[in-house]
Subunit: 126 residues, 2 copies
Amino acid sequence: MKKAELKQTECAARLAAVEDAMYVLGGKWKLRIITAVVSGYHRFNELQRAITGISARVLSAELKSLELNELVRREVKADLTPVVVEYLPTEYGMTVKEVVSVLGNWGLKHKKRITGKSAALIAKED
Amino acid sequence: MKKAELKQTECAARLAAVEDAMYVLGGKWKLRIITAVVSGYHRFNELQRAITGISARVLSAELKSLELNELVRREVKADLTPVVVEYLPTEYGMTVKEVVSVLGNWGLKHKKRITGKSAALIAKED
DNA sequence: CTGGATCCACTAAGATACTG
DNA sequence: CAGTATCTTAGTGGATCCAG
């Protein structure tokens, strides 16, 4: 395999990794939910109130996904009624902070660059 | 405004910035296209061949979006037939490299962590 | 060759109602 | 309280044909 081909392969692998990350963290709600959990909202209905606009259905699905990826931890506090369920942050979940930070910084810079210059962020009413 | 409220505001602003970034870079194709352009594919059909699976419609739309955000530059080489159009990387487009890098690293680590442990990246056949 | 136009399929997500 | 079930809607992307 030649050098150029190696480069191609590396590049594809990087892209695949990026897509994995997007798959786990992307979408409309995942980061919001992680943030909320980290911020101290632990109960289901608490989260639904904190995250304006999310439906129970979606919140439920997203929490399951985050739990599978070990970004939050689900803990049943009692098996008597009323059942108390808590979603707690994991130490691993904290590792997304760096990602969020870099992404956020770029987004901020980009907005400054583009705002007023054109309608680039158009159709995404700020 | 109290300290806690300030924190909330900051947090919301960060999230908004992250979402802006996601909006500009996210989706199925944007990063792929940027990568392809940076890698030396400049013509429309060249890009379509390089990016396996993309349709002309989507490529066209994505390129417009990227151009609006100044991540690629569209240049018409001749106004005679056959018209030659080139999509070129901008220096600004290079600033996404850091983002891609961080995202990619996290994605890679995450895959290693999760693979085999569960079906977490499930339904996303690798 | 470079796309625009049209039509269609798929999926994410909203609304609402309901169960243990 | 903590979800699930069902229905519906909106956005995204694919396929195909067509025009400059």
